[in-house]
Symmetry: C2
Subunit: 180 residues, 2 copies
DNA sequence: AGGTACATGTAAGCTGTTACATGATTTT
DNA sequence: AAAATCATGTAACAGCTTACATGTACCT
C-alpha cells in the first residue's frame, strides 16, 4: 500500500509545499478521495524524506511567516516516486465500514438501518454534485481528471445501488425483527 | 475503521470456527472483498477476545486433529458486535494503489500504463464473473446478498470506466513522452 | 478581546505486517 | 516420498492515530 512518504512525494512532485499545505491537499485536493493523513504522519514522513535526500528544505525568504518551511522534491525524489509508480499495484480491497455493517444489516433495527443507508446516499450525492462542478471549473492534469472521473463513476454506482436496493434490506430487517 | 477483532466476531456470529477457518473466510468468503487479515493478526485477536470473554474455546472432541481450536461467540460477544454495528460508520475512502498511480498516469511510459490498466480490467471482469455465478448458487443472508450486489455494482462501474476511458489517459501519456 | 486559520512538531500507544518456527495430515 | 494443505503461534518491526504542546497572524 502507498505510504505517507510516497503521498507527500506525490504532492511535492506538482510543486513546492509546506507540511501544512500538503495536509490541505489530502483534505480538499484531488488526492483527498483516496488518501488520508494527519500532521502526526506527515511531519515525520517529511523528516524521513529529508534525511534520505528525496526532498530539500527551501531557505525561507524573510517576508513570509518565519516558521513556515517549504519543501521541494529532488531528482532523487522524483526517481523514487517513479519507482513506486511503476511497481505493480496491489489489488484493491473495498475496505469499508459500511459494507461490513450492512453485511449484518438484516439483524439491525429497521429504522436505524434505513437511516444509515439514507445518510450515506445523501453523502454520496453531495460529493457527486461537488465533483461535477469542480470537473468543469478546476484545471487538472490528465491523470487527475481520469482518476476524478473514476471516483465519480464509483460514487454514482454506489449511490444508485443503495437507492435501488435499500428497501430490500430494510424489508429483511423488518421480517427479522418480527420473528424475534 | 473495523479492526480484526470485530472481523473475527463477525465471522463467529455466523457459527463456530477455528483461527484457520476464519482466515479462509477472509480469503474466499463473502467478507473477502472488503477485509483482509493474516494469521499474524487473527491469532492475537482471538486471544484478546478470549481474555475479554467475548468468545470461548470449545473442548475439542477427540476425533478431529487434537491441536485444532474451535471458538464460539458468547452473549457478551454478540453484544459487543452489535454495539460496533450500530455505531455510525466512518465515511469510506477509496484507498487504492491504482488510483494513486493513475493520478500520475500521464507521466508513465504509455505501454506500461496500458498494460496495468488492461490487467486490472481483466482482474475485475474475472471477479465479476465469479460473483455472478456465486450469486446464483450460494445461499446467503440478506445482508450478504445486499453487500455482494453492492460490490458487483462497484466492480462493474470501475471495469466499465477503465474500458471506456483508458485510451484518453494512454493518449495523454503518449503526448507527454513525445514532448520529453 | 476572542476566535479562527496558519504552522510545526513530539510521544505514547495501538494495530497490523512480515518473517520465523513448528508440526500433523492428506493428497499425489 | 514429496508436496500441499491444515493448523497454531511468536517476535520484531513498521506505520499510523491520538493527544499533547506551542506559538503566530489575521479577521471581526
Amino acid at each position: 500500500m502507498i505510504d505517507v512518504k510516497t503521498l507527500c512525494l506525490g504532492v511535492l512532485s506538482r510543486g513546492d509545499a509546506s507540511g501544512y499545505e500538503i495536509r490541505k491537499e489530502f483534505e480538499d485536493g484531488p488526492l483527498s478521495h483516496f488518501s488520508d493523513a494527519g500532521f502526526g504522519s506527515i511531519y515525520p514522513a517529511l523528516r524521513r524524506l529529508l534525511d534520505d535526500g528525496l526532498i530539500v528544505m527551501l531557505p525561507h525568504n524573510g517576508d513570509g511567516r518565519p516558521d513556515k518551511k517549504l519543501y521541494r522534491i529532488t531528482p532523487a525524489g522524483r526517481h523514487a516516486l517513479y519507482q513506486t509508480l511503476t511497481r505493480t499495484p496491489a489489488p484493491d480491497k473495498l475496505r469499508s465500514d459500511l459494507m461490513f455493517i450492512l453485511s449484518f444489516g438484516h439483524l439491525l433495527p429497521p429504522r436505524h438501518l434505513d437511516r444509515i443507508i439514507g445518510d450515506r446516499i445523501a453523502d454520496y450525492r453531495r460529493i457527486i454534485a461537488t465533483l461535477e462542478v469542480e470537473g468543469e471549473t478546476t484545471l487538472r492534469t490528465p491523470g487527475e481528471r481520469f482518476v476524478e472521473g473514476m471516483g465519480l463513476a464509483i460514487y454514482r454506482a454506489v449511490a444508485t445501488y443503495l437507492e435501488e436496493h435499500r428497501h430490500e434490506l430494510v424489508a429483511a430487517a423488518l421480517m427479522e425483527s418480527q420473528v424475534a
